[in-house]
Point group: C4
Chain length 260, copies 4
Amino acid sequence: MAKYIIKMNKIGKLNKPVLIEGLPGIGNVARIAVDYLIHKLRAKEFVTIYSYSFPNSVFLNEDNTIDLPKVQLFYWKNRKGRDLILLTGDVQPPNEEDSYLLAEKILEISKKLGVREVITLGGIGLMSEPKESRVHGAVTDKKYKDELKKLGVVMNGNGVVGAIVGAAGLLLGLGKLKGMKGISLLAETFAHPAYIGIRGSKSILQILSKYLKLDIDFRELDKEIHKIEEVKIKRESERMKKITGEIGILKEEEEHRYIG
Amino acid sequence: MAKYIIKMNKIGKLNKPVLIEGLPGIGNVARIAVDYLIHKLRAKEFVTIYSYSFPNSVFLNEDNTIDLPKVQLFYWKNRKGRDLILLTGDVQPPNEEDSYLLAEKILEISKKLGVREVITLGGIGLMSEPKESRVHGAVTDKKYKDELKKLGVVMNGNGVVGAIVGAAGLLLGLGKLKGMKGISLLAETFAHPAYIGIRGSKSILQILSKYLKLDIDFRELDKEIHKIEEVKIKRESERMKKITGEIGILKEEEEHRYIG
Amino acid sequence: MAKYIIKMNKIGKLNKPVLIEGLPGIGNVARIAVDYLIHKLRAKEFVTIYSYSFPNSVFLNEDNTIDLPKVQLFYWKNRKGRDLILLTGDVQPPNEEDSYLLAEKILEISKKLGVREVITLGGIGLMSEPKESRVHGAVTDKKYKDELKKLGVVMNGNGVVGAIVGAAGLLLGLGKLKGMKGISLLAETFAHPAYIGIRGSKSILQILSKYLKLDIDFRELDKEIHKIEEVKIKRESERMKKITGEIGILKEEEEHRYIG
Amino acid sequence: MAKYIIKMNKIGKLNKPVLIEGLPGIGNVARIAVDYLIHKLRAKEFVTIYSYSFPNSVFLNEDNTIDLPKVQLFYWKNRKGRDLILLTGDVQPPNEEDSYLLAEKILEISKKLGVREVITLGGIGLMSEPKESRVHGAVTDKKYKDELKKLGVVMNGNGVVGAIVGAAGLLLGLGKLKGMKGISLLAETFAHPAYIGIRGSKSILQILSKYLKLDIDFRELDKEIHKIEEVKIKRESERMKKITGEIGILKEEEEHRYIG
């Protein structure tokens, strides 16, 4: 059971805070979504967690300074409704035990801050790129089902999703044991390791903003999606040119062969 | 040494309780047997054990709610004889240390409840499907041997079974160190990972019901066995049709080849 | 750091006891040597060590009873000289940490019993079967060198042996930190996993009996060596027959081929 | 979390000591550099650290004595400036947790001795042997950048180096959390496992001696580099002869083929 180093700033009382999880995972869907929320809402960092179970290395920043891998909590004071606690980070612990332990630590901190509801995010890795990224739901309590369905969340039981691995699963499961309610929102994405599941992040954020009555400006996210699409189209057309080129060479060779 | 979370309801005094183990394993023989007992005897859950060594994920239920992987104890008050404590669960710990630790926890709880005898169940994975599923025995004490032989248990020394791995072994071994007696009943089954060792479960339950003088109705289990057999026969006949079909195609192709 | 369960009987005071290690390892050289000593000297078991780091299973005995994997200490009261503590067992811990921890436990017990000198045994796995099994030495203290050379131990520095892995190494290394002196006697043997290094065991025992002035009857060990040799010769001659047979078949085939 | 055994001699007060890390790693660049410093400055050993996470074996010395794997601190009293604490050793811990823990132990000891600045060394493994071994820098604090650039250190952000793994990274990262400043100097070397990165060690030492105003005699190091070069040239010329020989044979064969 690895040691944890937790740095925490005092913050004022929060109003019925909701914890939203966005650690790295399939398609990085969760992390992109939460990082966008942090950016757009100008949420403030107040907890940094280091752990002996994280990679035994430091990352280099652009200015040559170094940082240990870390997991962070941000908070956002909502003038119109419930406050948010946003969980993001560089890593998820590599083994079962430390995965449980990190979830436990985060729930302990959250409980002290008054969190009664946990929303975890994640991706469902499909074998091909989905045209639209549907969002599937899992809950700690049946009462959630109708509300989530109305928001467009697919509630298909355990047909598509059999298990939720990592922080997205454990924060709900361990939270339930501590008397917290919770939802997991899982967006369909592409299982390719290099795929950036930013469309899935948007699908989740659209549901999340309705559920939490947030007013999120999606323009920056759309620009990012657009950029990625352009890169993809460019790559694809280059790939086509290359293939055409290769076919050209092939033809020449074949001609030579037939000639010779 | 992973942390454990144990939820326990108080129950009244038990009459000379016997612990019966049925955790997942080869052919799932043990778990099916104990789950059938729980179902038929209407045993009541009273202990739930979660562990940081279990998979770091939650399972989805059909109603979209989630559950952490767990191990459970049920009890059954027997009007005619000794009470039972029944151990079932989703998983066995993945490593040596946590396997020992879980067995230790269960024995501690059992000892406090007055358990002096432990019966562990399991499967012996054969290379082909056995026609009849014989039950082999292992004991903490030589005195058991004659009684078990009379009940039809094969007591062949260490010829067939060299070691008993996991909870089925450790509950006997660690129990012995705590002054408990015990039996392991191991049914022959098929080592194929997809094989459901339900016939082995029945063989064990037949011996168990004689040993503990239980009156178990096997009709539901027989129905299940029948269903599995039917699925198997259906699959087999489909497989035969397919093969015949493929042979047909093959013939056609061969004919074409010879014709062309 | 795995839990240990230690069962210990009280024994009277020992006279300048020497600890001799014989846990499983290359060719099982060490274990065979120490088990033979225990057998011949009629040493008495007084410590049993179980550990959560040992395999999570029980072994079956011929009489259908089960036993947890264990490590044991035996003692032998020597009328003519120093008493012996003999270490044998079913296993060595599978990882670094538990390997250190077991060595530490054994040294703690040994120190309390007055042990100041530790002798560890082991095999050096060669790529082919050695004709004679030479014994190489490693020591905690240079003063040992001349005496060991006189007894026939090869003291070649770190030319042949670069490191001693497991209990044989750690009992010396950790013992040295506790102020104990020690020797490691390593017999050349064959690195094949199925090879029984009983000749190496004899080489070690011959040196050990001179060093400790023990009067060991080697006849039983010689019988065992003889038996193994016979099995080997029988196997070899069968293998030759088989090869000859196969060559016969080959010849026939070749003839056919040349004929046809 | 593995146990540590720490042996420490008392030393007098140190003058603004700097910790310099030189544990094994890519090309052994760091260890060679620090061991050369220890040798040239006649630094004195005062701390030895053993750990249950280190290999469970002992190394043999040339005189047949054995030693547990260890990590050591040496100190050097500098008459003209800041004192040095030099870290060298046989190993780095094999897993994340113990890597953190060892760094933590070393920082604890260093902090008590007054260390405020940590310099860690390492190699960057390139796919081919670099002609000159440039030194890249990483820092805890931007203020270092100009000074290091003046000394010839490449400060390219995270272009070449993305992460620093092991003690070289963690001593900076964990040190930063304890209020220590630090630099990592990483020399380009060849990623081949058998390559001795002694040229990289020299590049680092040249910068280090300027930064710390040390007067280091490089002649012995140059001799070593020369020796390695000679061995390489000899091997290369033998390899060329062999190839020429093989080409000779090839030619003969070809001639035969053309003749035949």
